[in-house]
């Protein structure tokens, strides 16, 4: 089955602390992988993408993600979060049939 899993529906973290948002994918969606952020009442904004090459991908706003083929994971990390990072984060994968499948999302709440 084609799926993208985000095990944590909600992640609270204190300001300036590090954070990791987990994402696992089925083998059929590993062609391309993405992380999107969605602020309240807004559309989705691309944070970063993995197409090929280096497994460590750096994105906007200080986020990075690591593609791990053996663990079928694409976890998102940031070493120090800010209040403005409070948002919904979606992991997505593109299948060989050009279909983009989204995970259910992780709500990141940064606590002052």
């Amino acid at each position: 089955a084609q799926s993208v899993t985000q095990l944590d529906s909600q992640v609270p973290v204190f300001e300036e602390a590090p954070v990791e948002l987990r994402c696992n994918y089925s083998s059929s969606v590993s062609v391309y992988l993405f992380w999107y952020v969605q602020y309240p009442n807004q559309g989705l904004q691309l944070l970063l993408k993995y197409l090929s090459g280096s497994t460590l991908v750096k994105g906007i706003n200080g986020f990075e993600a690591e593609f791990n083929k053996s663990q079928t994971s694409f976890h998102l990390r940031k070493p120090s979060v800010h209040i403005s990072d409070t948002a919904e984060y979606f992991c997505a994968g593109k299948t060989s049939y050009d279909k983009v499948i989204f995970g259910p999302g992780t709500s990141l709440s940064v606590i002052p």
Partner: protein, 112 residues
């Protein structure tokens, strides 16, 4: 460069009424997507266009939903008649050559 433009931003209608959403993709983007996002969930693909051809509409409820992309640019998504369960955010996205998708701000539909 202008992003993906959607209108209206918000729509409230009574059940059994028709409703239409409009999307103007980024200039030059050949791929256009319509997604539906229910509260607390990730976006789910309704239909994908490559230029003016609908190449994936397997998730579109064809008994009440229809879409068109005339001349391979703008697109409209219609629901007729709307049901209570259609309340959601409808997102339009576009991409070039099948890479990352750029999203509009969405249309929040409330069916009462």
């Amino acid at each position: 460069e202008a992003g993906v433009v959607q209108s209206p931003r918000y729509k409230i209608i009574e059940k059994k009424q028709p409703v239409a959403f409009w999307c103007n993709p980024i200039s030059g983007h050949n791929t256009l997507y319509w997604y539906r996002q229910n509260l607390g969930q990730g976006p789910e693909l309704l239909i994908r266009y490559e230029n003016e051809e609908a190449v994936d509409d397997s998730q579109l409820p064809k008994d009440r939903f229809s879409a068109e992309r005339l001349k391979g640019v703008d697109s409209t998504l219609k629901i007729q008649p709307a049901e209570l369960g259609d309340s959601a955010v409808y997102l339009c996205a576009s991409s070039l050559l099948g890479y990352e998708a750029f999203f509009g701000q969405g249309t929040r539909l409330t069916v009462v």
